[in-house]
Amino acid sequence: MTTMSMVKALNSGLRTVLEREPKALIMGEDVGRLGGVFRVTDGLEKDFGSDRVIDTPLAESGIIGTAIGLALRGYRPICEIQFDGFVYPAFDQLVSQLAKMPNRSGGRVRLPVVVRIPFGGGIGAIEHHSESPEAYFAHTAGLKVVACSNPNDAHWMIQQAAASDDPVIFFEPKRRYQAKAEVDTEKSSLGLHDAATVRSGSDATVIAYGPTVDVALHAAAAAAEEGRDLEVIDLRSLSPIDWEPLEASVRRTGRAVVVHEAPGSHGIGAEVAARLTEQCFYSLEAPVLRVTGYDVPYPASRLEEDYLPNLDRVLDAVDRSFEY
């Protein structure tokens, strides 16, 4: 066990990947000498060379398109998209090529490509630097989509994603990049697509991922003071979703609240609510409620505190759930 930030945990995870897997590559804008704008790849170019840690031209479609080609040649590229809002120029290569080519080939081609995307708001940034595009990818058959919420998961999930033979879109909550926590550098107890119950409780289930896990945990701590015992589940994997622990929890608590930063309409929360309702219809005391970003473009940073789900909005939703 050592204490480190998520950035350091990702960095050490990537270092391990590069050490163990000779075909692994890192590629993206400014990932080399600069170590990435968030320093996630700090020092890797120096140690593994610019042939394995590749500063690319400034073109996201090119990054993903050539990563596919490299994967076809037997490489295992780990791409960095500099910020969430810059993944869209690569959308065709992601959803029409990376997602579909293995299936197109009848399983003869596998594309072990990881696409790292720092995502979410709360860092006071300008437009396009605080987006939560995960639902686009979760809705895309052929991709796997995960989001880490803490340094330990970051450390292990990036290694598991790199080891996967499927394309993985890997979301990193940038407002949690610097928060430090314990990392078990020996082993991981969870698989890449496992959900995790990060706090047990019996009154209601709060479901979150990425940056909102911390929000949910704070809400649960506050609720505990008011005598309400909230269970918090970190989804970790958005596609596929690990339904079993979610359903089991909701069957016990009868109430659920889903929390994410992306706009609510057609977001991840909709799928979670729809499916949990299908599976746990008779157990639910209230509809699954959602606490999400509003259905607006991410606002100017001086308004982001109003846009983002926070402790109070989560507790409000829990209260509303208990009103049923």
Binding site: A59, G65, L72
Partner: protein
């Protein structure tokens, strides 16, 4: 007649002579009349067998392609994108490839596929709708057809970067990569990004543009002011314009570009100036946007006719040989046709089985549902 290079007979006089008003300045070794013309940069050194082989490839390609059109008309295929008129571009470039080279096609490259010696059934299966075009691309060194225009240019660039990373360039045995695309494809961002990537990373890539004058109904005028072969230089990539209806020229030019690539000298772009004699696909109605007069002009430049004329004039082949090839083409066509017609529909489960390498529980459940549903329908119709 030995295996020495066959120079053009009247070098100075023939050179460029063929270029009519509507033809650009391109590399040409055989003019539409079937006369050899010389080009200072491109010599040719093929054996008689190889010269005859090119004819065989041209004819068989044309016949197999015609069968695609026929099968579509007969309801055996959902769609067919004919390559009629582009045989020389495909056979010339396809035969210039060496064993170790890798091809990224668009969706019209039946002729290249033929030259690679790969089972063509996969392309017919794709257009029949029984699968999505899957093949063992690694063994074939011929990737899947790519429908999203220009997307494959980036795959090829990345693959070629990988070849360079592997150190598989730098000698005669080096590997080269060729990607096929159309004139319309040059307008997509992806194509231009591929030029950048290939250039910056000095990838062993040949971009082979079949400028068949049309992107569905749109002419070159809607895609560029300056042809792709001239655009390349602005990316630091040499560009060559070649008579795409001249199998000798496309062969020579591609061979030289591939050799450049395999020796680690970087990417290049070839624009093969040719013509799509059929509509865009069997779904298209080309009479809406072009006229017979234009077709006639191009009929006069037919790639097979001119080559046959030259072979005959050189005494490399005659009536017997041509008849033999026709018969062989016929056999190939019939063999393929039978196999296409007997391609059976896929199992429902196949829709689910290749999506992921590592299984997803939810998909297993959906698979079961779909399989059961089909079984219930089949039962229903049996009873």
């Amino acid at each position: 007649m030995g295996d020495q290079p066959r120079p053009a007979k009247k070098t100075a006089k023939n050179r460029r002579k063929s270029a009519s008003a509507n033809e650009p300045e391109f590399v040409q070794l055989l003019n539409p009349g079937g006369q050899r013309v010389d080009h200072p940069d491109y010599a040719l050194d093929l054996s008689d067998e190889e010269y005859r082989g090119l004819y065989r490839d041209l004819v068989i390609t044309r016949e197999l392609d015609a069968q695609g059109t026929a099968l579509q008309r007969q309801g055996q295929l959902g769609l067919w994108p004919s390559l009629l008129g582009q045989e020389a571009a495909q056979v010339g470039s396809g035969r210039a490839l060496r064993e170790q080279d890798t091809v990224f096609p668009a969706y019209r490259e039946l002729g290249v596929q033929w030259c690679r010696g790969i089972d063509l059934l996969s392309s017919f299966a794709l257009f029949r709708g029984v699968d999505l075009g899957g093949r063992d691309v690694a063994a074939d060194r011929f990737h899947m057809y790519s429908i999203v225009i220009a997307s494959q240019t980036l795959h090829a660039a990345g693959y070629a970067m990988g070849v360079a990373k592997d150190g598989a360039v730098g000698s005669d045995e080096g590997e080269a990569v060729v990607v096929y695309h159309g004139d319309g494809a040059t307008s997509e961002g992806d194509f231009n990004e591929a030029l950048i990537w290939a250039g910056v990373f000095n990838a062993p890539l040949v971009l082979f543009c079949q400028n068949n004058q049309y992107a569905i109904s749109e002419t070159n005028a809607r895609q560029f002011l300056v042809p792709p072969s001239q655009r390349a230089a602005g990316f630091g990539v040499p560009g060559i314009l070649v008579d795409g209806n001249d199998v000798l020229a496309t062969y020579a030019v591609t061979k030289s570009a591939l050799d450049r690539a395999r020796h680690g000298e970087g990417p290049s772009l070839i624009e093969a100036y040719t013509y799509r004699m059929q509509p865009h696909t069997t779904s298209d109605d080309a009479t809406r946007y072009r006229d017979e007069a234009e077709l006639d002009q191009w009929r006069a430049k037919d790639p097979i006719l001119r080559y046959r004329t030259w072979l005959e004039a050189e005494g490399l082949a005659g009536g017997d040989y041509f008849a033999e090839i026709d018969a062989e083409a016929d056999r190939e066509v019939r063999k393929l046709r039978d196999r296409v017609i007997s391609l059976t529909d896929p199992e429902v489960s196949e829709m689910f089985d290749s999506v992921y390498a590592e299984p997803v529980p939810q998909l297993a459940a959906q698979r079961a549902e779909a399989v059961a549903f089909r079984a219930s329908l089949d039962e229903g119709s049996e009873s």
